[in-house]
């Protein structure tokens, strides 16, 4: 058999959970301002960052994400007044716990992006994709059955 010498450049799959009121609008602004962010960021719109159940994060990894980022309104600016404060506690514990289980801490992130921060959205995404790309493929929190189907 011929040895495969060709090396493919690794492009990570990123799942971004964005809240409807700030971050999703921020992504919109980034788009309409013609600011680029990598195409491998898959945005999932949620009503509030607080909607994100820890299971969502794990499921994203299962389905092939190499990194998961959660974006919400800045603390104090939540459309539902207090939602993102709960997110902050929940995700602090979850991220720390995932790292305790041996999952690389660079794969998870939480950022506050407002509707007016299109530039920040694009910068955050570019930075996160770079960070995960350096880390390589997610091998620790994957489902073999999903991988086979690819």
């Amino acid at each position: 058999m011929q040895e495969v010498t060709e090396k493919k450049e690794f492009t990570p799959t990123i799942v971004a959970f964005c809240c409807n009121w700030c971050s999703y609008a921020g992504a919109d602004l980034a788009g309409s301002s013609r600011l680029t962010y990598p195409a491998n960021v898959k945005i999932i719109r949620v009503p509030c960052s607080c909607r994100v159940n820890p299971m969502f994060v794990l499921k994203a990894f299962q389905q092939g994400a190499d990194g998961v980022i959660l974006c919400g309104c800045h603390p104090g600016d939540c459309h539902y007044v207090t939602g993102n404060y709960y997110t902050r506690r929940r995700m602090a514990l979850l991220y720390s716990f995932l790292n305790y289980m041996g999952i690389e801490k660079e794969r998870t992130r939480l950022e506050w992006v407002s509707a007016a921060e299109g530039a920040r959205f694009s910068a955050v995404m570019n930075d996160f994709v770079k960070q995960v790309a350096e880390l390589g493929e997610n091998k620790r929190l994957t489902d073999l059955r999903v991988k086979e189907g690819e």
Binding site: M55, Q62, R88, R89, S96, L110
Partner: protein, 326 residues
Amino acid sequence: MKDVELKMLERAKALLQSGEVARVIGWKKGEFCYDPAPASFESVEEMENGFVYNWFCGANLSKYLIQMAKKEGKTAVFLKPCDTYSFNQLVKEHRINRENVYVIAVECLAKLDVEKMKAKGVSFITDVEVVDKDVKVTTAYGVETLYKPDVVLSKCAVCTKTHQVKDEEIILHERPEREVNRFEEVEKLEAMTEDERFAFWREQLSKCIRCNACRNVCPACSCVKCVFDNPASGIAAKANDDKFEEQLFHIIRAFHVSGRCTDCGECSRVCPQNIPLHLLNRKFIKDIDTLYGEYQAGEESEGKTPLTTYTEGDTEPNDVFNGEAK
């Protein structure tokens, strides 16, 4: 422990006879001295025939009250110090009506783990007597002496808990005060590298057979409909199909009880595969303590848990990893 058992029996019988309570929840004799099981007694005869309280009564009885306290009449229950935290937590979550329960606080002095004794080569145990730190085990082959700290349940090894709730108490021997660091094992894991931790948990969790014993015994896991029984969850199977399911099950199980886990250690006690599940829960407890201030679930029977409240200056999730968190 025999004197305590007699006192408990006497008290329970009196309560049943007077009609003050309709049933008593305690431990029932098993086939051997080391396998007593939780049971509900409704008559004096049942008590006399089956009741037992010995060095192997490690089971936490508070979860049974969810069902039992709904029945007609009062229910009396024997609670060890660690069980009272679970009881309080269940009262807080409105799973138990406090007025329907008569709590008898009993002394504990640490319970023994028969698996650890068997691992030390002691089998065919017929009787156990504990004098200070010596465990005198009578077996079919003769008498052997074990060092008590070596054979206590892992939850008892780091226990400093005291009774949080009681209507009366049966305490004949005072437990000596002591200082222990229950986070020692968690700290050891935290000091490892990511790769080492991953390898450790991979090895441990791969043993999981998804018997769901940890979920069923946990006093904090009291949802009527559990997420793991939902076919849409994708992991409702009886066995783990993939390593991901092992991880998912244990991460979600631990997360669902975070802020409510009283560290009663039942999960590790019942695990047939000896997975140190309490280390998962304890990580959450440790993080909550360092990030949001010391909190012991079950100390109060009202108020909020750390995950149902917030402050404006909470640590950002990205900063948790920077230095010593906060």
